[in-house]
Symmetry: C2
Subunit: 511 residues, 2 copies
Amino acid sequence: MAVKTSEKLHQLREVLAEVSDLSRAALLLEWDQETYMPPGGVQGRAEQLSTLLKLAHVRLTSDEVGHLLDDLEEEYADAPFDSDEASIVRVTRRDYDQGRKLPAELIAEAAHASSMGRPAWEKARHEADFSIFAAALEKNVELNRRIADALGYKERPYDALLDRSEPGMTTGELAAIFDELKQAIVPLVADIARHAGAVDDAMLYRGYDPDLQLSYALDVVKRLGYDLERGRQDLSTHPFSTGISPGDARITTRVSRDFFNECLFGSIHEAGHSMYNQGMGAGIDRTPLWDGASPGIHESQSRFWENLVGRSRPFWRHFYPSLQSVFPDSLRGVDEEAFYRAVNKSQPSFIRVEADEVTYNMHILLRFELENELLEGKLAIKDVPEAWNARFKSYLGLDVPNDREGALQDIHWSFVGFGIFPGYTIGNLVSAQLMEKVRADIPDLDAQIEQGQFATLLGWLRKNVHVHGRKFTPNELLERATGKPLTAKPWIAYVRKKFGALYGLSDRAAG
Amino acid sequence: MAVKTSEKLHQLREVLAEVSDLSRAALLLEWDQETYMPPGGVQGRAEQLSTLLKLAHVRLTSDEVGHLLDDLEEEYADAPFDSDEASIVRVTRRDYDQGRKLPAELIAEAAHASSMGRPAWEKARHEADFSIFAAALEKNVELNRRIADALGYKERPYDALLDRSEPGMTTGELAAIFDELKQAIVPLVADIARHAGAVDDAMLYRGYDPDLQLSYALDVVKRLGYDLERGRQDLSTHPFSTGISPGDARITTRVSRDFFNECLFGSIHEAGHSMYNQGMGAGIDRTPLWDGASPGIHESQSRFWENLVGRSRPFWRHFYPSLQSVFPDSLRGVDEEAFYRAVNKSQPSFIRVEADEVTYNMHILLRFELENELLEGKLAIKDVPEAWNARFKSYLGLDVPNDREGALQDIHWSFVGFGIFPGYTIGNLVSAQLMEKVRADIPDLDAQIEQGQFATLLGWLRKNVHVHGRKFTPNELLERATGKPLTAKPWIAYVRKKFGALYGLSDRAAG
């Protein structure tokens, strides 16, 4: 074609804008499905989503995009790595190549298996009977394996799936990190168990008016920096956040009268995700770069605000007086220190999404190991519950009472999506790794938080994380922001220090 | 292509399903924009909508569809006119031909002019100064004219625009109907004015708790037959209904503490639209047939329930006791007959959307005449306010105080959309024309309504109107349902009888 080369980037961006608009429309449809859609809308919604996502995929993996990328790679070969132009070409190439490697029939088969797996999983979970779900899981494992084969990998099939969600990470690297975590956490959990009496969280169950909880939570996230002119909060069964455009990054939450943590910490968590979306650069809007660097990096932002800020002592030094005045009855006689301790109570439990900071990563390790073994044929489907329960006992010291609270608890295995779970642990680790650097750059951080000032902190995250969107891989981003690739050390140091102090552990256990 | 002919209909339906899914996703995006979208979402939403609608248009007017239609017209030449197959081919052909006649540049220019016209209109309306809007209106008139030229017409440019929204109707037919209406209404309005004291609606302004109004309205529309498993009600500044899929037909409403009519009658109106969507046949889902036969026929369903049912004496015989028990203070000392009279008060007023049953069509006549004169160059832009005011005086006897309450009141002229207004009057006339036949078919209709039984009535509308969707043109539908094409006579007889009785008019005036 006789167009000028700068025209070609314009052409590519036109296509990418369409793909982005289709994907964003799909996000809104999904948001609606979880919040307001009437029950009768299910079938039509599935059809609409399927059409939008199919069109986005077809457009992104079209020959036109391939030809444009070929030309643009040459044109921008010398452009700075971190320029918008070079990054758009580089990241689009990655998505394009991965998309082209997956045959349409395989995608369709995986989508079909996922939609068949859902009701089977629901029934099995409801009846706490793994055998009802076994055939669907077997099919999903096979499809995960075929997807890994189609994408290609050097060492282990899991590498292919992991690289798709956490680009550049390998199963080997992650296994080493999980091993380091296991060495640190298992004894820490045991130590905490021996000092369990040190923390009392009974006041969190004393009853909190749901409407007051919601308005308090909304006020808190607003003060953290979540822009409500470009976001909103609604109720849904499973809280989530969604970035529909730079001006529309929403959160949902749920609220329980009987347990305080759910609404406030859930809201902070989702607002952490949405502040990430609200901070992405204008130059990458409507491109594949306008998204989190990875699910793991996205989770780092939610966990940062939820745990490293929201469950910190300076945070409650600032907020506790106002909280106590909103809930005077439930918090009568509870001082700030007692409340801080309560929201940090650590105790092994069965359900991942309810796990505390210390034990959470062990839930992920378990799933990471089982997914790998299933994928490599080392674990038979029928043996999954037994393997689950044995590992659970070994990592967290608990006997799983039934499959509903064990191998059937997560929705993830009902669809074809191995390789997603590690992102949760990566998120935890990255949040601490970033915080270590934040503290070096903002020495008076705790004092700022105590005064309810979060602008400097948010500014740091904006500059070092948010603005880049998906321009860098997780490790590229971490190298630039902290000087190191992913490491578990800051997180291990953080939990040892925090929970060592909370539970009055000896230096041996805590160090 | 060597495919079997039955395969071709399947192929066409695949394309139409995609087009439908894109359009339905756009409807959800628009619903969200009017209900929950945060202010910052405006730009992104405009981009998303533009992409979805463009892709739908491109797909529908593709060469592939043209070739399929050519083949299918031959294949289904002998299929029954009212079969799904023949109708899909026939209606898709109409949409395809109209779509192909409009060059992409003209569509883009019209979209651009519409988005520029909106702020100009808003500013002009805010300042009640028509001159601010004059240039934008001039551009829109020119574009309406160019669209009419591109579509083609036999006699008057308005024919082309009218045929697009109300297929088969001509400007000449409509002008004759409006003339008949004018002859009947102008003297009736004058007669009512001389007996204005006969109706007192002061109790409608006594204050009604908004939450109670909303729940009462929702209860009423549910009892009329609006299925809330396949619909929902939300608040919006401008009430509307939207059919996102057979299982998802929503309404919005607004509520005023100070004026009773808005919430209840608005809800019934929108539920009338949504019951139409909920009644369309399963065989036409995800085709161009899954929609109202025309905006006018759609409006007939909303007006039918709002006015012919909701403002009828038997309706209030049934509902008034429960209404009075919900609002005992505001309705103290008001009996059923007084309330029935109040909600039917007729009085000339400036704003179309607030007009009563009798005067409403005169607001439309005025716009129909001005649009025609603008399109044919018989009226200069600068003379629009004067022409508006003169006609308003002649039809409704009022002096328009300013352009905000005159020529600037409607949003319609801010975008390129001449030919839409007549649908409102067609809706009124059709509702009465259908009711005449309903009464012949269901002799005890009033007794059923008095007992709160609406199933037989809804069943009649389902069978004779709803199930067909867009299979027939308005006149085809009316011929099948009532034996006659569109006529003003039933509506004129209805208002003469009802308002003659309400205002105690002499036989001369009322007959």
